[in-house]
């Protein structure tokens, strides 16, 4: 596969390390009422769609960027690649 890195352009997927569902960005609040359940769902339950999937790839043999790749799990077609840092900020994560 080829991932079109937002900064570096097309790179072979073998340069990257895969983590999984980009929902892993949405880490729950440790102090919330239902923190235990929230962390269980965050840690263990997945949509696992057959079709479009947002997922985290790390450019291990490259610039060390974490990317959010939107990829079709049936055709492997990649429709979007973003820097995970931007996505995380857009989803309201800060510090």
């Amino acid at each position: 596969m080829i991932i079109n890195h937002p900064l570096l352009g097309p790179r072979d997927a073998s340069e990257f390390t895969y983590l999984g569902d980009a929902a892993l960005i949405d880490r729950p609040d440790w102090q919330a009422e239902n923190a235990a359940d929230a962390f269980y769902e965050y840690g263990y339950l997945r949509d696992n769609p057959s079709g479009e999937h947002q997922e985290l790839w790390y450019h291990e043999a490259g610039d060390r960027s974490w990317l959010v790749v939107t990829r079709n799990t049936l055709t492997h077609e990649i429709s979007k690649v973003e820097l995970a840092r931007d996505v995380a900020r857009a989803r309201g994560r800060s510090k």
Binding site: R11, D12, E60, A61, G62, R64
Partner: protein, 186 residues
């Protein structure tokens, strides 16, 4: 001045040189390195300060620039600064001062082993080593890639001169990979 004797990444006292069919691979220990990573919110100032240090526009993504002191892009808001070891063993200190708090600076001098390839037809060697699209590479390019499972930087000084940086501890394996590719391709 201290009295400890340095050895090269390949374990010698003199740099290793191999020439095959007009292409030469030279071990280059005489280089000092420091990494520069912009502090959050200081990106612009960092770019400016780095430009002043290398007396050239700070390199864009996938580029290197500079002269005596040069730098190449290594990641988002991150660069590696290069300079001759003899004259700049304290490159990290010098860089830290120059960046004036706009960036985190870390000594990388001995984190890396460098091998320079010079001669014609280097591309036929590189195409056996890494996935880079050599059609897109010209003087000024600096790319991260994987060579025989070793994470490296490949810098194009001129089409007849490339520098390859690999982790110092893997210098022997990297050197073996380069020289066997030379024997195979040339």
């Amino acid at each position: 001045m201290h009295d400890l004797v340095a050895i090269t990444a390949l374990g010698g006292t003199e740099p290793r040189v191999d020439t095959i069919a007009g292409v030469t691979c030279t071990e280059v220990p005489g280089v000092a390195l420091a990494s520069v990573a912009a502090r959050l919110g200081e990106e612009a100032n960092c770019v400016k300060a780095l430009g002043d240090l290398i007396e050239a526009p700070t390199p864009e993504v996938g580029q290197w620039a500079g002269a005596t002191i040069s730098a190449f892009w290594s990641g988002p808001d991150q660069w590696m600064v290069e300079a001759p070891f003899e004259s700049h063993e304290d490159l990290p200190g010098q860089t830290k001062a120059a960046m004036a708090g706009t960036a985190s600076v870390t000594e990388q001098t001995d984190g890396w082993a460098r091998f320079d390839l010079s001669g014609d037809n280097i591309s036929s060697v590189l195409e056996l080593l890494c996935q880079l699209d050599l059609r897109k590479i010209s003087a000024g390019s600096a790319d991260r890639c994987s060579i025989h499972h070793i994470g490296c930087f490949v810098l194009c000084r001129t089409p007849e001169h490339f520098s390859i940086y690999g982790p110092r501890s893997s210098a022997g394996s990297l050197h073996h990979a380069i020289v066997t590719a030379m024997r195979s391709a040339l």
